[in-house]
Symmetry: C2
Subunit: 307 residues, 2 copies
């Protein structure tokens, strides 16, 4: 195999036209150069690819087989080159995105959707994980960017604020609290609570329950649902009240009233973090995208309060 891609291109041109002169013109080379290139190819293969005389040219049986194979090879090569270049420009590749429960319940889905519109070549690989897990995975280069919730005190990480969640109390419009402007935690001491799924919402309750303890009570759980939609549904039925975040309340249907909790000043910050050193191109593109979204006011540290 001494021949190159050049020979293959020449061969395919002749195989299409079955005419050396016309093919040579399409290839922008002289006819003799083309003749000799084909001769070299045939000599190298040890196979006659064209049956030719001065008056006609046609493919031999072996020539037909070679043409089909050569076409496939050339197409494959072009596809590979194209993909390689797109990877190089960051237009293709994979982005491994970690997320916490809060991220996935908040801005993340829309964020990923928007990003994919702008970068359809980049495959998003979402990985669920709590904050500590994500930080370890970032370090082990198993994650490109993480959406983590809560304070992160690790150096060498780039970060952008995505959303701040403040707990709110959600009650049905027929509830005795419905007319009030706001609540205090201790007002909830005797209420029935609808609880989120313990496994998926662990982080939220790790944050909330200490607050309740500080207010002198433990929430009395009367119902548990599988997800936020379920929680809101049970509250809608009057099964009890719940504490969720503004973000999640945005998905609520009618008949519900959200009440701020006066004595809970803390907010839960969800951030995007990535390893500045190991950042690959798709990561950088995603960060750039995040900055655009922040500039547009779509995401950031301001609460997305429902008007």
């Amino acid at each position: 195999m001494k021949f190159g891609l050049r020979h293959i291109r020449y061969f395919l041109a002749v195989a299409e036209d079955l005419n050396f002169r016309r093919a040579s013109e399409k290839l922008n080379i002289s006819q003799p150069a083309l003749s000799r290139a084909i001769q070299h190819l045939e000599a190298d293969l040890g196979v006659q690819l064209f049956a030719r005389s001065q008056s006609f040219v046609r493919l031999t049986e072996a020539g037909v087989v070679f043409r089909d194979g050569a076409r496939a090879v050339l197409n494959g090569m072009e596809a590979t080159v194209d993909l390689t270049r797109r990877i190089n420009r960051g237009e293709a590749g994979a982005l491994r995105v970690g997320y916490t429960d809060f991220a996935i319940a908040g801005a993340l889905p829309e964020l990923l959707k928007q990003f994919r519109l702008g970068q359809p070549g980049i495959t998003i690989r979402p990985h669920h994980g709590v904050t500590s897990t994500q930080l370890r995975e970032l370090d082990d280069d198993k994650l490109d960017i993480g959406f983590v919730t809560g304070p992160v005190r690790q150096a060498g990480l780039g970060r952008r604020a995505i959303q701040t969640d403040r707990p709110i109390c959600i009650v049905h419009e027929s509830h005795r609290f419905a007319q009030r402007k706001s609540l205090r935690l201790k007002d909830l001491a005797d209420e029935d609570f609808v609880h989120g799924p313990a496994k998926d919402w662990a982080h939220f309750y790790d944050y909330l329950f200490p607050l309740c303890r500080r207010a002198g009570f433990m929430p009395r759980i009367v119902q548990e649902a599988f997800n936020s939609v379920g929680i809101l549904g049970l509250v809608s039925c009057g099964m009890g009240i719940t504490i969720l975040t503004e973000t999640i309340y945005n998905f609520a249907s009618g008949g519900l009233v959200a009440l701020p909790l006066e004595d809970v000043p803390e907010v839960m910050l969800t951030e995007a973090v990535w390893n500045s050193d190991k950042a690959r191109l798709p990561t950088l593109q995603f960060v750039e995208f995040l900055d655009q979204q922040i500039a547009l006011g779509q995401i950031g540290a301001l609460p997305l309060a429902r008007s």
Copy 2:
């Protein structure tokens, strides 16, 4: 795309070793030549494929993608070259084989099986067809070789005798004919006949029925089976007698007696025929194979009588 297969081979060598010097030795070129070639490839792609310093070489992300694609391309190219060469040598390709009912019931299956053992690269494409159809298809280059039965008087065809079939009368061992050495056609005038499938056995009956007519009777058909096994099975049950060929009787199970027909001297000759002018390599190889088999006495014009 100015690079050639040479660049790809060089690239893959470096991608495997991640060491320019060792790779250059494996490629039997000097290290500077290899460095240059890789530089040209990268410049042509506009993509850095290797991250390198004086102390280490590793693939970039784009390099990994290019390596995988390039491997596939090179493998595809080698496979194509190999197939092309085998086609050229007649070791691969397709052989379109026509056959009549007699051929397929006789020597043909074993013949094709043996041929495929010796030429596993050649795909056999069997086409059923009566003699006249096969001759037309040979002429139209829709068939490479035909197994035809009966006299063929067409010029320009190569031919080899495959088998001669003489009709025999088959009866159950309890039949009154069973003790006889031979029969004459007219003996059968009052017998019940088991008939082969009209469609598949048309040629045989076109040959046999005129003989019966000459003997002054028409066979009285009492049963019809789907194939030769079915016919023999019905004869085994005592449903009637039948006339088949020696070839087919070779497949019979026990309890049956074959009786020669004294007054039927004609034999049915099955021949392989092909177009000498248009013969492609696989065809010639098959003819050569036939000649070998004839030399071995496996096939030919001698009747394969059951001892």
